[in-house]
């Protein structure tokens, strides 16, 4: 009897096949499974709800065609997440981003002094980071990619990834102190 994860893979493989053939049902099922993850990743990278939503749409509209090159390379979720990360990064490069779309309003007051790291303040600080630093911080710390993986995704060397992580942390500490 297949294990739960094997079942999942079987089901994924079936969905991949049907979705890449253009089935709306299969795409809907993939959306139900993976859209939340894509959205979360896009939100934390972009700090903009509107842009994150656009990314989710782009990823799932592009998925049927993109899945043709998936070829069961590793778990589907990780693959989709990487595609989503690349989509976000491309978006950052192509579009000049508008700051005022940030998820957290700039106007949110610094409500410090309650917990050691105030959530509102942290969101503000993350939003205030330059894209290049935030991307590395989010991919490495929040998403758990290794520096090698981050480097490959972003198009930098692993050493640059380390430097950016340290700069991001330094900036966050400064912004939060």
């Amino acid at each position: 009897m297949p294990t739960v994860s094997e079942q999942q893979q079987i089901r994924d493989a079936e969905l991949v096949e049907r979705a890449s053939a253009g089935s709306a049902d299969a795409l809907g099922a993939l959306y139900d499974r993976y859209a939340a993850g894509v959205h979360r990743l896009a939100c934390s990278l972009l700090r903009s709800a509107a842009e994150a939503e656009d990314v989710v749409q782009d990823v799932f509209l592009g998925l049927p065609r993109a899945l043709r090159s998936y070829a069961n390379r590793g778990p589907l979720e990780a693959w989709i997440q990487r595609v989503a990360a690349r989509t976000v990064l491309m978006r950052m490069r192509v579009h000049r981003r508008r700051r005022e779309d940030a998820l957290v309003a700039d106007a949110a007051p610094p409500a410090r002094g309650e917990s050691p790291v105030d959530r509102v303040a942290l969101e503000r600080a993350l939003a205030a980071l330059p894209d290049a630093l935030r991307v590395v911080f989010v991919l490495k710390v929040v998403e758990g990619y290794s520096h090698d993986e981050v480097a490959a995704l972003v198009g930098i060397t692993p050493e640059t990834s380390r430097v950016r992580l340290f700069r991001a942390r330094k900036a966050l500490q400064d912004l939060l102190s």
Binding site: L27, F60, E100, R112
Partner: protein, 839 residues
């Protein structure tokens, strides 16, 4: 290399926190951390921030997104996704042109093909300054790309509000002016140029057509220009002026601006003082405590540094550090700096201010002595830039003494600095029997002045028509004030005549009731019926009046007849209120997010009903003050079946807690795509909008709530009862004399006043009024009407003298409360400081 005797760098601690150091390096850091609490704390903090970042809640996935994706998929849309990882970008010098070209190609291939989306921004325009960071006195080129609003024009005007570093008056007089003409080029771009006056550090701009009929105010945000210093930073004075400018309605931006100034100019005490100034007025609870703690720490640093110095700049250092010490409540330091200021610079703005406080402190005990003190200060040094503030304080104090001569003297001095406050001064004078005639003369003068549209006073974002309307509304309030003064003078006939005039346009339920009362007191029940029906038709006041409105009229109306009368008055309300409405179609797709994360459209929420939209923010003092009123009105509107939408900060757990503690039950939505904000040209808080059931903006950019219930009711009326429009107009057509007066210039307005004078002389007036004195029964019935209205919190208490409305008085009236004087003058002078920091 890393040495344990020194602290490891942050980079090593960061690597350490990740477990990313090699074994020897890790051991060295381990050993160091054993002994060093500071570095231990740094590592803990790195990990804490990491953990918090991982735990940040994700925004909920919009519920309708799946359907949108599948619809677009069904329509055959596709997006090409980047599947390959990005090429590593080597430093440019090591990269050949082939590699560079390959990177470009890859980037292009990899870019998602973004499909065109319907843009909300058809009407957006753009104004570009060159240079964008001008020096003082620079010549600035302007390129304006117009939106739909100003299409078809060949020439446009660039209007500006200039703020100088050397202290223009606080009252905002005469700051607006046309600074350039913009001429359309072949490419459709309007170009022009202007020279920034040497003294101007901050300017705000709007573009309009030659007649001021259409104004592009950049969505009410205006365009801004800050003078920059040789080092490329915006000048400190420019930031201070911008903060001051934004404190008038855009409090959040003002806060942000103060933070920016402090970050750019950490060595300036006035930067920190200005920041604390606004934080202290914005925050409550723990945020306020930490702001105070920060400010005290800063003060201590500056205090130490400044004490060591023999000479200090009065305007930017000595005066500020004195004020700063007082503001943070550090009495010992305040005493030291105050003494030093008075010793070395007694006749400067700051020195005079301290001396003024000294005098003001005795005002409560002995107002006459305080006035004598002011008088002597005035004759010795004049009052410089602070004059308008000091003089308004002195005038209020004079009023509290009741001494006619003192009042007249200080009123004259004050008006020289604040001529636009003539109505306020007139009303104050008119309250005093000996000065009543003079007061009334000033009220009439103000009404005449309001008949003109003065471009120097017209705010940048206002069209000439809007300005005319605003001035007509103010004229009406002054007319009511004049009526009250006539009443106080015992000239009942003229008073009634004048007050009736004030009730002929617009919608002021309290004024309707006052006129009704006067008619009733004069025994004229027939005459009272009309204004009383109007008062009863008002959604707020009407509810509190109930049937007592009918009963005070005696047996004239049975319930059915009165209902019909009020129905007619309601239709009149509709006409009067909607006469001032705009009608702007909002975009079809305006999405909002509910508190539980669903995405809904504005249409869905409003459900075809008149809709009230409120933008509020708890850290904006003017907005915070209105929250209780907003709650009451929103609840009343919801009870009536209207839709209420409010927008504020994100619903964090902390904010939800705050809402619970404050028992705030407003329906809160989020506007994450800024679609509503853009559709309404929303900026700043508080800000209120009224939409009709068809999705049009009808009343917008309201900073006050009082008119909202009548506006909503008028829209509901218009939606329901448009067929019977003709018959609805009551016996008296809504007069337009004030607007007519404004159009026709001073002469026409003067005529209105002459009627009132004529009435006083008995030549004209209320001949038709029946004067049945003292009908006991009616008087008894009249009582509950007043009492019931008076105890209701929602409605202004019955007034003998109508509310003067919005006063331009720089100080709140101090009439009976000199105890608050010191606090208020401090407030005003700090504002003055912001408006005039030295360069």
């Amino acid at each position: 290399m890393l040495r344990t005797v020194l602290h490891p760098g942050f980079r090593h601690l960061s690597l350490y926190a990740d477990g990313d150091l090699d074994a020897p390096a890790r051991r060295r850091v381990d050993a160091h951390l054993e002994r060093c609490a500071r570095c231990r704390a740094t590592v803990v903090r790195v990990r804490l921030i990491d953990a918090e970042a991982r735990a940040l809640p994700a925004a909920p996935l919009p519920a309708d997104l799946r359907a949108r994706v599948l619809t677009r998929h069904g329509a055959g849309e596709t997006v090409i996704l980047p599947l390959a990882d990005s090429p590593v970008r080597e430093p440019a010098r090591r990269r050949g042109w082939i590699a560079a070209a390959a990177a470009v190609v890859l980037a292009l291939v990899g870019a998602p093909l973004v499909l065109p989306r319907a843009e909300l921004e058809a009407n957006r325009s753009d104004l570009v300054f060159s240079p964008a960071a001008p020096r003082l006195g620079a010549t600035v080129q302007v390129a304006y790309r117009g939106g739909a609003l100003l299409a078809g024009e060949e020439r446009l005007r660039l209007r500006a509000r200039y703020l100088a570093h050397d202290g223009l008056p606080v009252n905002g007089l005469g700051r607006q002016a046309v600074v350039a003409e913009l001429v359309r080029g072949r490419d459709g771009v309007f170009r022009g140029a202007f020279q920034l006056p040497d003294s101007v550090v901050y300017a705000a701009f709007a573009v309009e057509d030659g007649a001021g009929a259409r104004v592009d105010s950049n969505g009410r945000k205006l365009w801004e220009l800050l003078a920059h210093g040789p080092d490329g930073r915006p000048r400190f004075e420019a930031l201070a002026q911008r903060q001051f400018d934004h404190m008038d309605g855009q409090w959040e931006q003002a806060q942000e601006n103060a933070r920016q100034a402090a970050a750019l100019y950490p060595d300036r005490v006035d930067a920190w003082f200005n920041l604390f100034f606004i934080e202290r007025r914005s925050f409550t609870g723990p945020a306020a405590d930490s702001a105070l703690a920060r400010a005290r720490a800063r003060l201590a640093e500056f205090d130490r540094a400044y004490r060591a110095r023999a000479s200090l700049d009065v305007e930017s250092e000595l005066g500020i550090v004195t004020r700063f010490a007082d503001e943070v409540g550090d009495t010992a330091r305040y005493r030291y700096w105050r003494a030093r200021l008075l010793r070395t610079a007694p006749n400067t703005l700051w020195g005079v201010q301290e001396r003024f406080y000294d005098i003001a402190r005795v005002a409560e005990r002995d107002p006459r002595a305080a006035l004598a003190g002011f008088d002597s200060l005035w004759s010795q040094v004049g009052l410089g830039r602070g004059a308008v503030v000091y003089l308004s304080v002195a005038l209020s104090l004079a009023e509290s003494t009741g001494d006619a001569e003192e009042i007249r003297r200080w009123a004259g001095r004050y008006l020289r600095y604040a001529p636009e406050d003539e109505a306020g001064v007139g009303a104050a004078l008119a309250r005093h029997p000996a000065l009543r005639e003079e007061g009334m003369e000033r009220l009439r003068a103000r009404i005449r002045a309001l008949a003109r549209v003065d471009d120097a006073l017209r705010p940048l974002e206002r069209t000439v028509t809007e300005e005319r309307r605003a001035r007509a509304e103010e004229a009406q309030r002054v007319l009511a004030e004049l009526g009250a003064a006539l009443l106080a003078a015992g000239r009942r006939g003229a008073a009634l005549d004048t007050l009736e005039r004030a009730t002929r346009t617009g919608w002021d339920a309290a004024l309707f009731r006052l006129v009704a009362e006067l008619r009733l007191q004069g025994g004229d029940t027939a005459g009272a019926a009309v204004p009383l029906a109007l008062a009863a038709a008002d959604p707020l006041l009407g509810a509190t009046l109930g049937d007592s409105a009918r009963l005070v009229l005696g047996s004239r109306f049975d319930a059915a007849a009165w209902r019909a009368r009020v129905e007619g008055a309601r239709r009149e309300m509709r006409e009067r209120v909607l006469a001032h409405a705009t009608r702007r179609r909002l975009p079809a797709r305006v999405r909002l997010r509910t508190a539980d994360g669903r995405t809904v459209t504005l249409r869905e929420i409003s459900g075809g009903r008149p809709t009230f939209v409120a933008f509020w923010y708890r850290y904006c003092p003017p907005s915070r003050e209105q929250i209780p009123q907003l709650q009451r009105i929103a609840a009343a509107l919801q009870r009536e079946g209207y839709t209420v939408i409010t927008l504020t900060e994100p619903l964090t757990p902390e904010f939800r807690r705050y809402l619970g503690e404050q028992r705030i039950t407003l329906p809160i939505y989020a506007d994450p795509w800024k679609e509503l904000e853009q559709a309404l040209d929303q900026t700043g808080t508080p800000n209120y909008f009224v939409l009709d059931g068809a999705g049009n903006l009808r009343f917008g950019t309201l900073r006050e709530l009082t008119a909202v219930p009548a506006q909503m009711a008028a829209l509901a009326e218009a939606g329901g009862a448009s067929a019977s429009r003709r018959e609805s107009v009551p016996d008296r057509r809504p007069a337009e004399h004030l607007e007519g007066a404004a159009r026709g210039g001073p002469r026409e307005a003067g005529r209105g006043i002459e009627v009132e004078r004529g009435a006083a002389d008995g030549a004209l007036g209320v001949g038709a009024v029946e004067h049945h004195a003292g009908d006991q029964q009616r008087a008894a019935l009249h009582q509950p009407l007043l009492v019931r209205a008076a105890i209701d919190g929602d409605v202004p208490a019955p007034v003998r003298q109508p509310d003067p409305g919005v006063r331009k008085h720089p100080l709140p009236p101090l009439r009976r409360d000199p105890a608050l004087l010191v606090e208020r003058v401090r407030e005003q002078l700090l504002l003055l400081h912001l408006s005039s920091v030295s360069g």
